[in-house]
């Protein structure tokens, strides 16, 4: 318990962590301020007009669905009329999002429609925060001699490293939850005061909460990964270099190479695909190679679900943690 206390104090007292918290708040502040500045409370005239446009759009959706059904009943083949093979995909009743007044209000922040991308931004920034803080926390300790000092006091490597990881994840979680509350609360306030709340249903809140929880898992994973890679490389820069190297060489470089040599389903080799799948529940990709040669209608789509995403990300993080703890247990410390 003493070690946990000491590590929490050591972590929160570090300048880099404090700087990152300031940057986090600044980024959120700028996002909130920009949204606030670009939103206004709509007049009744604007609302009425938007509602009419939304009603029209909904009616058009119903019409398109009925046209699709009629075409299929008439024997028109998919691909000849621009409608999908399965008209149910166009069924307004099954649509996750029906046009609403918010879609037709301009310069108005509508909470239930615009909070999701803002939530993704929040999660992305928190992931970056966790990764950098995690890498720097252990990296600085390993290079500054802080770890050696600590091990002279507590010659229990696994306990010390585990406590550090625990302190990191605990701190990241608290910072993430607190900053999220402030961030999401600020947007709710903007919607109430200077925009529209929209029509947040129970489903909306459930989806938003699940996305947020999945995002928190990603934040903790990012922190763990930064910590583990920096431990393996004995330096903060090892984690940053690995991250930059992965993005440039694999996500960008290998993707181009895969396209040139016409590899099937290249997206399934990219971590970003699994990350997205976990966060949003399911992502679909188009496989260029699936429908060659094109002879008839072909559905080249494939999907990665949150289960696949969770599996891949968990294996990655667990592997990194296992490798870092194993290496740390055996290695000579400077």
């Amino acid at each position: 318990m003493n070690l946990v206390r000491a590590e929490l104090e050591r972590l929160t007292a570090r300048r880099f962590v404090q700087l990152m918290v300031v940057l986090l708040i600044a980024a959120f502040g700028i996002t909130i301020a920009t949204t606030l500045a670009s939103s206004h409370r709509p007049t009744q005239v604007e609302v009425t007009r938007a509602e009419q446009q939304a009603a029209t759009a909904r009616q058009e959706m119903v019409q398109a669905y009925q046209n699709c059904l009629a075409a299929r009943a008439a024997g028109v083949q998919p691909g000849q009329d621009g409608y999908p093979a399965n008209c149910a995909e166009m069924d307004p009743a099954r649509s996750k999002h029906l046009p609403s007044a918010g879609d037709f209000l301009y310069q108005v922040f509508v909470f239930d429609q615009q909070i999701r991308p803002l939530l993704y931004f929040l999660i992305a920034f928190l992931m970056l925060f966790a990764f950098l803080v995690g890498a720097s926390y252990i990296g600085a300790d390993l290079t500054s001699g802080g770890m050696t000092n600590l091990l002279l006091w507590r010659p229990q490597r696994m306990t010390v490293l585990g406590t550090k990881l625990g302190a990191l994840l605990g701190t990241v979680l608290v910072v993430s939850v607190l900053s999220s509350l402030l961030y999401l609360g600020a947007f709710w306030l903007i919607a109430v005061v200077g925009g529209l709340v929209g029509d947040p249903t129970a489903t909306f809140w459930t989806d938003l909460s699940l996305t947020y929880l999945r995002g928190l898992v990603l934040v903790l994973m990012a922190g763990t990964l930064g910590f583990s890679v920096a431990t393996l490389g004995r330096h903060t820069a090892a984690a940053l270099g690995t991250f930059a190297g992965y993005v440039v060489l694999w996500e960008l470089g290998a993707r181009v190479v895969f396209e040139i040599i016409e590899v099937a389903r290249p997206d399934q080799w990219m971590l970003s695909s699994y990350l997205g799948a976990w966060l949003v529940g399911r992502v679909e990709f188009w496989d260029n190679q699936a429908c060659r040669p094109i002879e008839s209608f072909c559905d080249g789509m494939y999907e990665i679900t949150w289960r696949g995403g969770l599996l891949v990300l968990t294996l990655l993080v667990a592997g990194a943690v296992a490798a870092s703890f194993t290496a740390f247990r055996r290695r000579d410390l400077a």
Partner: protein
């Protein structure tokens, strides 16, 4: 006296990624008993710090046996860590933390009452600067902070690796007094240093390591006595004639520009008597008692660094043992030793 540290047959090889290996410890032995101030000497790269790191669990030894307070190290180090205070090489701290905060965090992590922080800051003379950031400290102040961190636990065993690094003369003296006070209070001290005069002043026992092996161990006075070759410096008016007379009297004489060194002298009055009887009046007859530095230089084969400037009793070229240059010249053990036996000088 009970054994506090026992190391036997310690081996450690550092391997490089591109191949090649550096043997840091080659069957090293060390024995430190309760109440000793034990000096640990060796040239740069001889394995001192590696030994201390291995003992403290920071480096994994390839083989060998180590115990601290009778507990196998590093396996059962956690059980005795509370009784051991240590600094290893130049310790570094977070520059943004104050000295007091640095110590407080260590105290909290180690379950030591934070009230000890002020006491050790006072003890090492850092109380006045305790609330300044460590980055503003001089090397000597950082060294004091490191010693303070080692003292926090009120250790029964204090391991200090180069504690005088960066200290000014007054600081070195304070460190010496501190070690004496601690020893007087019953703390066993193992101290490695390059300042041989300091070791000779402070320590009652010494172990010298060279190329990863122990080359001498024992009480400091016994080690020095083992290297006393019965040499005397003689200053007299006619050096050549005096050398001739002493040689004729059966003494071994080595000539120098302004004096003679007479070796293997059992009775120094024989020198004055032999020369006086021939009308040569001796101006000076001084026994050349070895000091730790000369012993160190001779044993570790680093004497050539001070050729021409060292004391006269530094081993002359013909005193070598004919060993390979990479081998320690001799292995000597005096007093209680760890395992194995050594060769006692004649």
């Amino acid at each position: 006296m009970s054994t506090v540290i026992e190391i036997s047959g310690l081996r450690k090889t550092f391997r490089r990624l591109r191949g090649g290996a550096h043997v840091a410890l080659d069957g090293f032995d060390l024995l430190v008993e309760s109440g000793q101030i034990h000096g640990f000497l060796g040239p740069n790269g001889s394995g001192k710090t590696t030994t201390l790191r291995a003992l403290l669990g920071l480096v994994r030894a390839d083989s060998g046996r180590m115990t601290v307070f009778g507990e196998p190290a590093p396996e059962r180090l956690p059980q005795v860590a509370g009784r051991v205070g240590a600094i290893v090489e130049s310790p570094q701290f977070f520059g943004n933390f104050t000295g007091r905060r640095t110590l407080r965090l260590l105290a909290v992590a180690g379950g030591v009452p934070t009230s000890r922080v002020d006491a050790v800051l006072e003890q090492v003379g850092l109380a006045d600067r305790a609330d300044e950031r460590v980055r503003s400290y001089s090397l000597g102040m950082k060294q004091r902070l490191a010693v303070a961190s080692a003292l926090l636990k009120e250790p029964e065993l204090l391991i200090l690796d180069e504690p005088a690094n960066g200290l000014d003369p007054a600081g070195i003296r304070e460190m010496r007094d501190l070690m004496r006070d601690l020893a007087a209070a019953g703390v066993t001290v193992l101290v490695s240093s390059h300042i041989l005069a300091e070791i000779q002043l402070i320590c009652d026992h010494v172990t010298i390591i060279s190329r990863g092996r122990r080359v001498v161990a024992g009480r400091v006075d016994e080690v020095l006595a083992g290297f006393d070759h019965g040499e005397y410096r003689v200053r007299v008016a006619e050096l050549d004639r005096a050398a001739e007379l002493l040689g004729a009297a059966g003494l071994t004489v080595v000539g120098h520009p302004d004096h003679l060194v007479v070796q293997q002298v059992a009775d120094p009055t024989a020198i004055a008597r032999t020369l006086g009887e021939q009308g040569l009046w001796v101006r000076e007859v001084t026994p050349l008692t070895p000091d730790l530095e000369s012993v160190f230089l001779e044993l570790t084969g680093t004497g050539h660094r001070s050729a021409g400037t060292g004391p006269e009793h530094t081993a002359p070229p013909d005193r070598g043992t004919g060993r390979d240059a990479g081998e320690p010249e001799r292995v000597i053990e005096l007093g209680p030793t760890a395992t194995g036996s050594g060769e006692v000088p004649a």
